[in-house]
């Protein structure tokens, strides 16, 4: 299963971003192989409509879950349709968020 985590930096030691669609990086982490791929957010500075674009990135990468700050209304609609689970990762490091999700300690919001 693949998980996408929004991140402030390109390493899994960085913090989960304060923003969903305006996160500088998306880290796609494969729980089985424990491999991660780092994607730069090309929509970072667009003035509007970034939420659904970020969801499209999640869909294109085949992720089953997202760890992020709480996404906005439009993003949530798209995430619901795409059947992607959403976990609240505010205040955590990417690596901490992944291990907390695995152990069921992370708050699921969708």
């Amino acid at each position: 299963m693949k998980v996408m985590i929004t991140a402030n930096d390109s390493s899994i030691d960085s913090m989960v971003s304060d923003r969903f669609a305006r996160a500088p990086y998306f880290i796609v982490y494969d729980i089985e192989s424990q491999k991660s791929e780092v994607l730069e957010n090309e929509f970072l500075k667009n003035s509007h409509g970034v939420g659904p674009k970020a969801v499209q990135i999640a869909v294109d990468n085949g992720v089953a879950a997202l760890i992020s700050a709480v996404p906005g209304g439009n993003s949530m609609e798209a995430l619901k349709k795409a059947e992607i689970d959403v976990y609240d990762g505010r205040g955590l490091k990417v690596s901490e968020a992944i291990s907390k999700m695995k152990s069921g300690e992370l708050n699921k919001i969708l």
Binding site: K45, N46, S47, H48, V70
Partner: protein, 291 residues
């Protein structure tokens, strides 16, 4: 740990900036972030000295290379926004109308059109008597932009970390749309300023739903509560039903007008409103700073 506290209202004109300016003084050297980038006002009271100016490229717009243009007019036919004009034998782009949709670029047979970065606004890192202020100005005719607000907030967090300042106070954008949500996302605490009018209560309900969506704790301030005690009771009832804490009720006070005219924060003067604002800030410090 860095705390970010946002002041929002839904309805405009309820007193966000008045309250924010006072908090700038009461919080003892916070980082202030003016996220009302459409019509920023906080700088009028805080009188910043601009240290850095950054450009915000939020969109792309069509640009026409006249030397390649074959004057076929296809760009004008495909533009849905009436952004291509024709005058004195030349086609030209109306920048304010262009949405950057790319249709003209795709259809131009001569390759005379391209999308180029467009300056949508500027943001500033400044210094005031009471600490840093990050503020911005959206360009005229630009779409209201959560993106520019995101840049302001990022800069505010960066400055707070560099200067080891524990709190960022955000003077939020009005409304409940993109600029407002960009002002509150992932803050530690939200202060919602309401006023006892029908539209005040109506818009309060909408912003409360928005803050709840983002799962952020909040408290309510009723400004000028005594101008309509019936509506104030309605707001109190609503807050009870929704289990929302009322942080304080600020009375109508002529000193607020005096302070505003002098471009000073209300708490620079002794008055009933000033006393209540101090009480509200103490509560916010207790709730938000110790959470």
């Amino acid at each position: 740990m860095l705390r970010q506290i946002a002041i929002v209202s839904g309805k405009g004109g309820t007193g966000k900036t008045t309250l924010s300016a006072s908090f700038a003084y009461l919080a003892k050297h916070p980082v202030m972030a003016d996220c009302d980038v459409d019509a920023p006002n906080l700088h009028i009271i805080l009188k910043p000295e601009i240290k850095e100016t950054h450009e915000y490229i939020g969109s792309k717009k069509a640009a026409l290379n006249q030397s390649k243009c074959v004057k076929c007019g296809i760009c004008q036919q495909v533009c849905r926004f009436d952004a291509v004009g024709f005058d004195e034998g030349r086609y030209f782009i109306r920048e304010y109308a262009c949405e950057g949709c790319n249709a003209c670029v795709m259809k131009c047979p001569a390759g005379a059109l391209e999308l180029v970065d467009s300056l949508s606004g500027k943001y500033f890192s400044s210094k005031t008597e009471n600490g840093p202020l990050i503020h911005a100005l959206l360009g005229l005719g630009e779409e209201t932009s959560g993106g520019l607000i995101a840049e302001v907030r990022k800069m505010a967090v960066k400055v707070a970390r560099e200067q080891e300042i524990p709190v960022v106070i955000i003077d939020g954008a009005p409304g409940i749309g993109c600029p407002a949500t960009s002002s509150i996302s992932s803050t530690s605490y939200v202060i919602v300023v309401s006023e006892p009018t029908m539209s005040g209560l109506h818009d309060l309900k909408r912003i409360v739903q928005t803050v709840k969506h983002f799962r952020i704790p909040m408290g309510i301030v009723i400004n000028k509560y005594d101008i309509n005690e019936f509506q104030t009771d309605e707001i109190v009832k609503y807050c009870e039903d929704e289990s929302l804490e009322i942080l304080g009720k600020i009375p109508y006070d002529k000193m607020v007008k005096t302070a505003t005219e002098q471009a000073k924060p209300v708490v620079a003067y002794d008055s009933l409103a000033s006393d209540e604002i101090r009480k509200i800030w103490n509560k916010v410090e207790n709730i938000a700073m110790k959470r």
